[in-house]
């Protein structure tokens, strides 16, 4: 009954997250994802004819803040960069994402 997740779909999802995975991992994840979907499919058994769809489950609405600067919570540059793998003159550094010369 449950749809099977293909290795192609797993590859696509891994690409979107930029996570390299091996062929073997693709197969393992395809099986695991299919199992997860099968569990979620149990929800199909529930009669929802009289239930309104919702975007959330905590019943909150209109949680907003006034437009005020909260300096207490702001980081110094040093704090902001504290956990970065690499920095340069106050910037975070990552491998070049666009090759433009």
């Amino acid at each position: 009954m449950a749809k099977k997740v293909s290795t192609a779909q797993v590859k696509h999802i891994a690409n979107l997250a930029n996570i390299p995975i091996t062929t073997r991992e693709q197969q393992e994840l395809a099986a695991a994802f299919s199992e997860t979907l099968a569990v979620v499919d149990n929800l199909l058994k529930i009669d929802i004819k009289n239930i309104e769809p919702t975007h959330q489950v905590n019943d909150l609405e209109n949680v907003l803040r006034e437009d005020k600067v909260d300096e207490e919570r702001m980081f110094s540059q040093e704090e902001a960069l504290a956990n970065a793998a690499r920095t340069h003159e106050g910037y975070f550094v990552v491998p070049r994402v666009i090759d433009e010369n």
Binding site: N15, Q56, V63, L64, V69, I98
Partner: protein, 444 residues
């Protein structure tokens, strides 16, 4: 060889503008990325995407988005929400951008241009991303990231594909920026990237109803002139491909102002797949009708309304009015001047024409009485005594017997020559019309 006349432009625009709230969209960090003293000085756990950071929406940013919607005649969704747009790129530390997907705050508006209405499909509120700098450090190609801009409130205004010419695209962009500035919700500075333009361009056969099966997106254009040039360039490029039997590739392109050409920016092999879903950190927003009424009442008089009011109240032609309301400051200054002119019985339209055509030198803020004095000095005429006028006419006739003979022989054009000579003879600002009447009478 076919050319662009065989096709018609089908174009829609997406414009982003950073709101000038004091704080960021979902955290209390300072929103002032262009004036920050150094990179990464206006950040916190929320806009750095740290685990546990909890976003809370900025009420002012929500209000301002709705105000823009009201100014553009949009319907406002009383129930709205924020969604996560998932993609992996270093300008977004969370791995997703908080945006709005299926229920934006505003839908179905319109911006009027001289070439026809441009319908607004939607306006939504989202967060800006960090700024990337592609460079080389110690011989290695790297990308530097500054998160001062990360989380700055950003509105996106999307049109229907109603734009039919490159100049209309430019006019639409300018009008939208003018309205945004009237509302005082964004600086919309193009050079710094506070406002960014995107055009979706395709061509359809001129004589067919069918819509094109492709579209090309030209992104990150930072001037209205460039958007006009980029669309003109794309129209030629598409016409060539289409007339050769091909279809332009559906892709994203950039605009190079130095070469005057667009270039392919295609990097993705796969279709975009953002996996939107409602952001569980941000409860939905339900607006009360009263809140909407309050925002509506706060709207200033908008540029088009000012032009038509000047037309009705002071008979100022819209073509002048449109050039005198570029900013709110200018419009209210002009309002004072028109009022003062009306009191003195000066034609507001002649005054507007003189200001627009720079016949008199003025600048926003000049005192109305000074502007009127300048106008008088440049244009107003003095009442010339009839005997003085007659003496001047006699003198001119005596000095130019040939011209008098010409006139009497039927050459009416010499009257202009006489008018000039008489006014010069008087040496003051005589009314040319009065002089003409006196001349005609004298020549009988």
């Amino acid at each position: 060889m076919k050319n662009t006349h065989d096709y018609r432009l089908i174009c829609g625009m997406e414009i982003h503008a950073e709101l000038k709230t004091k704080s960021k969209m979902f955290c209390g960090c300072k929103n002032d990325p262009f004036h920050a003293p150094a990179p990464n000085t206006y950040t916190c756990p929320v806009c750095l995407g740290m685990p546990g950071g909890t976003p809370v929406a900025n009420k002012t940013a929500v209000d301002w988005t709705i105000k823009l919607g009201l100014a553009l005649g949009c319907k406002i969704n009383l129930f709205s929400k924020f969604d996560r747009k998932n993609y992996f790129y270093p300008d977004l530390p969370k791995g997703y951008q908080i945006s709005q997907y299926d229920i934006p705050f505003c839908v179905d508006g319109v911006v009027q241009t001289s070439e026809g209405p441009v319908r607004i499909r939607r306006i939504h509120l989202e967060e800006d991303t960090g700024k990337l700098l592609h460079t080389t450090v110690a011989g290695e190609k790297v990308t530097l990231i500054d998160f001062n801009r990360s989380g700055v409130p950003l509105i996106e205004i999307v049109t229907e594909p109603d734009i039919r010419t490159p100049s209309q695209a430019k006019e639409y962009g300018r009008k939208l920026r003018q309205i945004i500035r009237y509302l005082d919700i964004a600086d919309a500075d193009m050079e710094q990237g506070g406002m960014r333009l995107e055009a979706n361009i395709s061509l359809a056969p001129a004589k067919a109803d069918e819509l094109p099966k492709y579209k090309v997106e030209v992104k990150n254009i930072n001037s209205f002139r460039f958007v006009e040039q980029a669309i003109t360039y794309e129209m030629k490029r598409h016409a060539e491909i289409l007339s050769g039997g091909g279809t332009p590739e559906q892709e994203t392109r950039g605009w190079n102002p130095n070469t005057g050409k667009t270039f392919s920016q295609r990097a993705k092999e796969e279709a975009e797949d953002y996996r939107y879903f409602p952001d569980p950190d941000l409860p939905p927003i339900r607006l009360k009708k009263q809140a909407l009424q309050r925002l509506k009442a706060e709207l200033p008089e908008l540029p088009d309304m000012i032009v038509s009011r000047w037309h009705t109240t002071y008979q100022v032609e819209p073509r002048f009015g449109e050039l005198l309301n570029t900013t709110r400051e200018q419009a209210s200054w002009i309002d004072e001047i028109f009022l003062a002119a009306a009191k003195e019985g000066i034609s507001a339209n002649s005054l507007a024409s003189a200001i627009v055509n720079r016949k008199i030198k003025t600048q926003v803020g000049d005192k109305p009485k000074d502007v009127l004095a300048t106008y008088y000095a440049a244009f107003a005429t003095e009442k010339i005594d009839a005997s003085e006028l007659d003496r001047a006419i006699e003198k001119v006739f005596a000095a130019n017997p040939d011209a008098v003979a010409k006139y009497k022989a039927g050459d009416q054009k010499v009257i202009g020559f006489f008018i000039g000579q008489v006014i010069r003879e008087i040496g003051r600002k005589a009314d040319a019309n009065e002089v003409r009447q006196a001349l005609i009478a004298a020549l009988k």
